[in-house]
Symmetry: C2
Subunit: 230 residues, 2 copies
């Protein structure tokens, strides 16, 4: 496998995907065209407009982008693709669409054979075992929460430390993930913005600028440094 699962597409005050540019060039080395999966539709943007946004970035590294929604036979398009990028947005919408079109499994098996994959935010959630550690609002009802399991754990993108100065009684992110662990025995990687997971073959590491917070049943949450194995 050859994949990047990033916490976010965009760092504060930066342009789309720019902080990941050198990594993306390495990921897609020798690839001149990828399929973009626009189904998470952030802010309700159309599939066409979201694909244009991705295409603008990839033009800067000489990679052509086609939206998966443009293909009549999407499963064959996935099988034949040279690379994938799944953008962020709403994970419920993304997972519902992939399951309803019966694409989750063909995407998984194609990536497992070595086709490079980039996911950001919701696109990273679907690389985990299931989507039960997304931050997104359940605006639609997917037929299943199961995802691709490209890594043997779940991801919490945009991981956010407690903000006690807010004086707000909604649950902190840590509280939510600990609640998840009461119902599921699955490791959760709390991926702060600016960090990403890199899998090359069987080697899985966390990369980026910040430590990463790990949650496991029966253990206190703990931090690991950039470049640590997962």
């Amino acid at each position: 496998m050859n994949i990047i699962l990033a916490s976010t597409s965009t760092l504060f005050s930066e342009q789309y995907l720019v902080y990941l540019k050198s990594e993306i060039i390495v990921l897609f080395k020798g690839v001149d065209e990828i399929i973009f999966i626009p189904f998470a539709r952030p802010g309700g943007i159309s599939h066409d407009n979201y694909t244009k946004k991705a295409a603008e970035f990839f033009a800067s590294i000489n990679i052509n982008v086609k939206g998966l929604h443009e293909f009549e036979d999407k499963a064959t398009a996935i099988s034949n693709a040279k690379g994938f990028f799944t953008g962020g947005g709403n994970t419920f919408l993304l997972v519902k669409t992939l399951h309803e079109l019966s694409l989750m499994n063909v995407l998984k098996t194609t990536i497992e054979k070595g086709t490079p994959y980039l996911g950001c935010s919701a696109g990273s959630n679907i690389g985990g075992i299931n989507m039960k550690t997304t931050n997104d609002m359940p605006i639609v009802y997917p037929p299943s929460f199961d995802c691709m399991g490209l890594v043997p754990f779940n991801i919490n993108p945009h991981y956010l430390d407690p903000q006690p100065e807010l004086h707000h009684n909604g649950e902190t992110r840590e509280t939510r993930i600990l609640e998840f662990l009461t119902q599921n025995d699955i490791k959760v990687v709390g991926l702060r913005e600016g960090n990403w997971i890199r899998r090359i073959g069987d080697q899985i590491t966390v990369e980026g600028t910040q430590p990463t917070r790990i949650f496991e049943r029966g253990k206190m949450p703990y931090e690991i440094a950039p470049q640590s194995s997962l």
Copy 2:
């Protein structure tokens, strides 16, 4: 109907339910015992311990509390109850449990006949049409997102204004609710902490100390003052 759907159980630096005490006394006037629904299990607390927490508060206003989990025949217990309180926690866990035990509908019809109901946070979400505007993490997979529809709209409890100083690229609450409206034509009441919805018969108002933010498809979000009709 005679119900309160509150944004939160606890205000910052206050004790459990204290800010709502005078309202709760009015809601449960003439009632000496209520059923507490502990299924949302905040932080993974046990049903027994969560029920004790509620019972301690209600003892201060001379109301006895029994946990719904204590009854063998829960549907009959609901039908015969003199009042209900559903505490906060994880809405997915609450809704899954109510649907799997086939209790959502009997609870709805009993409340619609006039049995008083207090909900906080997740307990307020289930008073809406569906749970698609919860803030909670989908730690379990409910068989349906449908709720009781005690009011003709959805609720977003713990409504939080954008926090631009966070420099964080996760979606704001407003962005999430606007995404909901791209997929659903249902009014959403963004209930800030300290506010609650009061329904007496057919009259529905929003109460509390802060304005309330309303989201409707095709309109700009707008604010209404305390005591406004909904």
